[in-house]
Point group: C2
Chain length 283, copies 2
């Protein structure tokens, strides 16, 4: 039996659409063992999904091992469909538990985008993109004095729907804007004294997606007012990420809960750190 564990992640950080992601210390654990026939069990988050060959962990394990005489056990703390990279983390952990040589490649191929997978595999702050058919990823420095308050609404927002609202064309000035903001964001994530709220501004995805979650703008403004250094969507949403200093983060989390209540959004606020280990495997 092999057990693998992968952290959650928050992608599309502010201006870094399809590029930047940070791992978060919520975990999914997958055990894979040879058996008589395929069996899937699941505990925790996502355990309401069908426990059959269609389960993502089963699909990945079967693909990696080349047969389906497997027992696959999943235990997850990562909310599903909230923009916290649950499927990339699950795919990475299932690939590793099934003995894949390159779990990042498997998870990136399964998930379609490499940045969540890269954060779940490498841990920390990552930049990732496809170069041809190959995911290329690298860790970038992140200030250990930064933590994250994540607002997790109860509603789900499927990534496919969130992508369908993006425009086909954008002004050249918006493309330039995001490049400039992404530079500032990377400087600020490496050294929190340099982190200005404008570093998380974006003109490529958060605007159009606002229609799917109109309360997001007010919630992010509220997080900044309550002391967050910067705030942005987490992945394709609807979770929202506040980047903040360790000091005062507990208070900010409580304020995040109040903001959700005041805005009439069912959900909770989590205080999370970047996971620096990434994917781990034990036989």
């Amino acid at each position: 039996m092999v057990r693998a564990r992968a952290p959650a992640s928050s992608a599309n950080l502010g201006p870094g659409f399809d590029t930047l992601a940070v791992s978060l210390d919520l975990y999914v654990e997958v055990e894979v063992e040879e058996g008589e026939r395929l069996s899937v069990s699941s505990a925790g988050e996502g355990s309401d999904l069908p426990l059959d060959a269609s389960h993502l962990a089963a699909r990945v394990a079967v693909e990696v091992m080349g047969h389906d005489r497997l027992s696959v056990r999943v235990r997850s703390d990562i909310p599903v469909g909230r923009g916290l990279g649950s499927s990339a983390a699950l795919a990475a952990a299932a690939a590793a538990a099934a003995g894949a040589a390159d779990p990042l490649a498997v998870a990136a191929a399964t998930d379609g985008h490499p940045e969540n997978a890269a954060a779940s595999v490498l841990g920390g702050l990552v930049t990732a993109t496809m170069v041809g058919a190959r995911p290329v990823a690298a860790r970038l420095p992140i200030d250990p004095g930064l933590v994250f308050v994540v607002l997790v609404p109860d509603r789900r927002l499927p990534t496919a729907e969130a992508r369908s609202v993006l425009p086909a064309q954008v002004p050249h000035a918006h493309a330039r804007f995001n490049l400039g903001r992404m530079g500032l964001l990377l400087a600020g994530l490496a050294d929190r004294r340099r982190l200005v709220p404008e570093a998380a501004e974006d003109r490529l995805h958060q605007g159009p997606r606002g229609a799917l979650f109109p309360e997001a703008v007010g919630l992010m403004a509220g997080l900044l007012e309550a002391g967050a250094l910067a705030a942005c969507w987490s992945g394709a949403g609807p979770s929202l990420l506040a980047i903040c200093e360790t000091t005062g983060a507990g208070r900010l989390r409580a304020e995040g809960e109040r903001l959700l209540q005041r805005t009439g959004v069912q959900g909770r606020a989590l205080l999370l750190s970047a996971d620096m280990e990434g994917l781990t495997t034990e036989a």
Copy 2:
């Protein structure tokens, strides 16, 4: 008398249009002294420009000091109009020599774009953008084992012309492409072992500008073939920048000269390092 010195710079690094720049160890020096009336002298590069109140160093010094009873002396090794940030460096040095409190702000306002000015003032690899009317810049890590071979054609390519060919709208996918490549480029500039040639790819400016300098594509391909880790335009061109390891850089420079000759482009190849001091002033 105050003397200030600022390095050249290469902006628009690959995907980092209007955002990333690196200082280069070619310098402009400006001396400003109170005098009877405005006098301007100039030696070295740019000494063919009119030596009157229209000279950029004079304009900046007069603006900073609030009067024109000044003697302004300029001595420059930075080729003008080649995409090496000569005007940003000159403006920064003139502002500092005239006693400006914030030479970066003066140079960014004069030059219109903050990234060349930031590289000339801060030195090293910088990310810079306007946040409202304010230039915000930060240094980013650069591997000390990287140097630059710069092909400097004899022809000038004014920035205004180079900007006029940019499209007003771009595909959303191109905006995403550049973000992904910029992340890879920053990871590779921080650690040269991570630098892949694709990190310098761009879909926002180099393509349209190719019409102004059709030989650029072949020259960049030649630089890569000759061992450069990555290659891109320098600023708005026509200079081209090859990013390479210290070892073998001399050979690459010589190959750059041969490439220019073979392509029929008059010009020279320089081997330059990132300047890590930035703007310096002595009274």
